[in-house]
Amino acid sequence: MIRTASHRHLVILAALVFSGCAQTEIAAPNPSSVRTPAIESREVPVLHSKVFRTILDNGTVVIVIPRPVVPVVSFRIGIRAGSAQDPKGQEGVASLTASLLNRGTKSRDALSIFRAIDASGGDLEATAGRDLTTISGKVLTSDLDPLFALAADMVRHPVFKEDEFARNLEQSKASLLEERNHAGPIARNLFYKSLFGTGPYGHPPSGTMDSLSTLTRSEVVDFYHAYYRPDRTLITFAGDITPEKALALVKSAFGDWTLTTPPPFPTLPAPTNREAKGQTLLVDRPDLAQAMVIMGTYGLRRDDPRFYDALVMNQILGGSTTSTLNHVVRQKNGLVYYIYSGFDAERHTGPFFVVFQTHAPNTPKVLDLTRKILRESRDAPVSQKTVATVQDNLLGQFPFRVDSDDRIASLLLYIETYRLGLTYFTDYPERVKEVTPQSVRNAAQTFLHPEHMVTVIVGPIRKTKVQEGTRVPQP
């Protein structure tokens, strides 16, 4: 494992300090086309390039960062059709829909799609997350056109054949079955469920055994028609491609995709700034030697203005190898294999959480110590020096978020999904630098509630000697 100061839950992004102001430019009108959408652009100093964005008439957003060093292009087609959009009782439908995109379109069966992808020499995959379904492609510039056309065909003309549906449904059930062997997913799913209930983030993106057992092909088809729409589609490119070329590609593949149905019923918003009901849930797994623990409460949305304060606060608390939690619980006391904290900051409010794994009998000790650290982090002031150290770390990490075309294309999708704006690449370092000891303290007081946390423990409960909590059957 590559040791970095970041971890995968909290999206930690920073940028180096650059001068140079962002400018908006409007591309020169192109006489050969009737209407050319305005192209916005901003500097991306970290890449010595620019970012370009435009919106087609049908609502599809296109964003490009040209980076023409190597003849390779990465692209992402994001559809606002994530598991947050799963209708009640159909949990997992977004994920299953995504898995079927490469299993047949009006003009190609699954095997010819597989052959076409491999013949391009590139990669093309579709997956559903909480907020988005993403089709990811990477290919040599010379083979971009056919691969992108194929991706568009998958998005616009999937047929969801009955036998392919049945096959992928079986695979989804098999992987859920497999997940039951691992404490991590069990703990995480229960934690999200108890915090977010029936809200958009309450269920796992892959669904549950209950929901998958009743899911039908027609529900997949209905989901597809409701959410796969040009005005819910974002397309990003990074690599050896000009904005003009990208726009031409998108226009030819998606330009005639028109809205035929009214927009879907809006997803219910997730609860915000609610105080969690403090409770402990225990899942007994006598076969395990270790206890897996997740504890936490409500965090924030990614577009929350307090995000950067929360980011720095979390880095100090448990977001890096030199954080307080890691230093005290792991290095000083040797009580855990790992411990870290984070925010899942997405389109809706996600959790703030602390995760650790420990030898079962140590569980009460680690719980007490963690709660104590959380209380102290909430109550005690933070020094300017500590804040400055974290700021340097975050600024130094930022280039790694954009060190390949794949990462850049994904980051562009992220920026658009969470409405962070094209100025993101210069905003980020500025926002990080604006964080002060006082704003960190405010964030700690807002987000740390050691008395009202949901705590989920999966492991050999008797051996953990935990005195609190409610037993919950293994899902």
Partner: protein, 478 residues
């Protein structure tokens, strides 16, 4: 690290030697790197840059290969030592990896913890890996911090403290790592198959070493191993990122120039005798799913057949249109995953191996039956021309796409330099792949995928399952 995925192309027309300096500037050029196009409108004024790998050799034998890519947001600094488990002797297996661990335990100047702290302070990444043929260390940072990497690596090339306390601590950690390997059923199977396939060659031993050896390796063993392999003339530094060549050469010279050359380690001369008959290994472990592995001795990059073997492995498992995915995973499924893998870039002899993880309740012999059926089919019937073209296209694209990442390009250059792959090998790579014919595929299948050259491994799942995983066998990342 698969050669297919990481390799890039450069042209070598020869070196110019100038006072001990090998200059590649005008001579080595990435065939597929090219200057930004006019339409790309990059904001940086220097649109006409053309990245080229430059080789520089210092008087003490240290080699530097750097690529200036002004568009890279990061810089990777890597130091590759020509030492790995291939250099180990019986009774001391695992000493390369153990040494790698000790490299993080500090020197008098930079004590234990210093590196982690400093790297963390600048948001960088630092790690190391030990393999059969090499041990490599790297620091990836924002470009302005490259000096930190030089400072740390030059210091620990010769100044390790190797205190008994640190040694005792690391031994526990390595043994724990070794036990985790035992717990991982697939890893265990891979290890057994390698040990069966190689009887004499050091590839017989897992990179992490055998447990009794790890327990017995002494401080003086480590000290001797360290001083006889960690020296400038046994190392190559790779730098990729926005760098100023002359400044970089001077800075590295300042840091490493005064370290004296050492006696070159003896080359590994062991030869594996030709296998004469089927070999078998069976393990019963707690696992989720059954696994079958078939391994066949195969030549490395030095053989002209390596190109056909590379294309063959892609025909078998490159993407969802590949033979194994289609026949074993998609249609008439009996496996969740099935692969045919081959690594051309090895110092010693290579293996062509098949790996299939079955659906629950599928027996390992059934997996083998299906795999061998496919192999026999390839001996009697040629694959389609379309399938061959697809596979070649995938090999070549993978080859080029791999060089897009700064770190990945560094890895490729380091691995080549350390294993001893000549640069003209890459010069001709695409053409050699393109020229692989249907006859070549059939010939290499008939030549290498034979019963007398085969080692079979079965994993029968028992009891409580554990998550299976497969990566390239034996690559250890700290």
């Amino acid at each position: 690290m698969s050669f297919r995925l990481l390799a890039s192309l450069f042209r070598s027309r020869g070196y110019a030697t100038m006072g001990g300096i090998l200059v590649g500037t005008a001579l080595l050029g990435f065939l597929f790197f090219h200057a930004p196009r006019a339409g790309a409108d990059t904001t940086n004024g220097s649109v006409h840059f053309k990245p080229v790998p430059v080789v520089h050799v210092y008087p003490n034998g240290l080699r530097l290969i750097y690529v200036d890519n002004p568009y890279s947001p990061i810089v990777t600094f890597q130091i590759w030592y020509k030492v790995g488990s291939i250099n180990e002797i019986r009774g001391k297996t695992g000493i390369s990896h153990f040494t790698e661990h000790m490299m993080f335990t500090g020197t008098p100047r930079y004590p234990h913890g210093y590196l982690d702290r400093e790297i963390n302070a600048i948001g960088g990444q630092s790690n190391a890996f030990t393999d059969y043929d090499f041990t490599a260390y790297f620091e990836n940072t924002a470009p302005k911090y490259i000096d930190l990497a030089m400072k740390i690596e030059s210091d620990r090339m010769t100044h390790l403290s190797l205190t008994p306390e640190q040694l005792a601590r690391e031994r526990k950690i390595v043994l724990e790592e070794r036990r985790n390997d035992y717990d991982d059923p697939t890893q265990k199977l891979v290890e057994q198959v390698y040990a069966k396939a190689f009887r004499v060659h050091p590839y017989h031993n897992p990179v992490i070493g055998w447990e009794p050896d790890i327990k017995r390796i002494s401080r003086s063993d480590l000290k001797r191993y360290y001083t006889s392999h960690y020296m400038p003339n046994n190392a190559t530094i790779i730098v990729v990122g926005p760098v100023d060549g002359p400044e970089l050469i001077a800075a590295i010279g300042n840091q490493f120039g005064s370290i004296p050359r050492g006696p070159s380690p003896a080359p590994v001369t062991v030869r594996e005798p030709v296998q004469k008959g089927l070999r078998f290994t069976v393990i019963h472990k707690p696992a989720m799913l059954p696994v079958t592995m078939l391994a066949f001795h195969a030549p490395n990059f030095k053989s002209p057949d390596s190109y056909a073997l590379t294309v063959l492995s892609t025909l078998l498992s490159g993407g969802r249109s590949s033979i194994l995915y289609r026949q074993m995973v998609y249609q008439n499924p009996i496996a969740v995953d099935a692969e045919g893998d081959y690594e051309a870039m090895t110092k010693g002899p290579s293996l062509f191996y098949f790996y299939a993880q079955g659906l629950p309740k599928v027996s390992p012999p059934l997996l083998r039956h299906r795999l061998e059926g496919i192999i026999e089919g390839l001996k009697s019937n040629k694959v389609s021309k379309d399938a061959l073209e697809r596979a070649k296209k995938q090999v070549i694209s993978g080859f080029l796409m791999g060089q897009e990442s700064t770190f990945g390009l560094g890895m490729l250059l380091g691995e080549m330099a350390t294993i001893g792959v000549p640069l003209d090998y890459l010069d001709t790579y695409v053409d050699r792949i393109k020229s692989v014919s249907l006859d070549d595929i059939q010939r290499v299948v008939r030549t290498y995928l034979t019963k007398s050259n085969e080692t079979v491994g079965y994993l029968y799942p028992t009891g409580t399952p554990k998550k299976p995983s497969i990566s390239r066998p034996n690559r250890i990342v700290r």
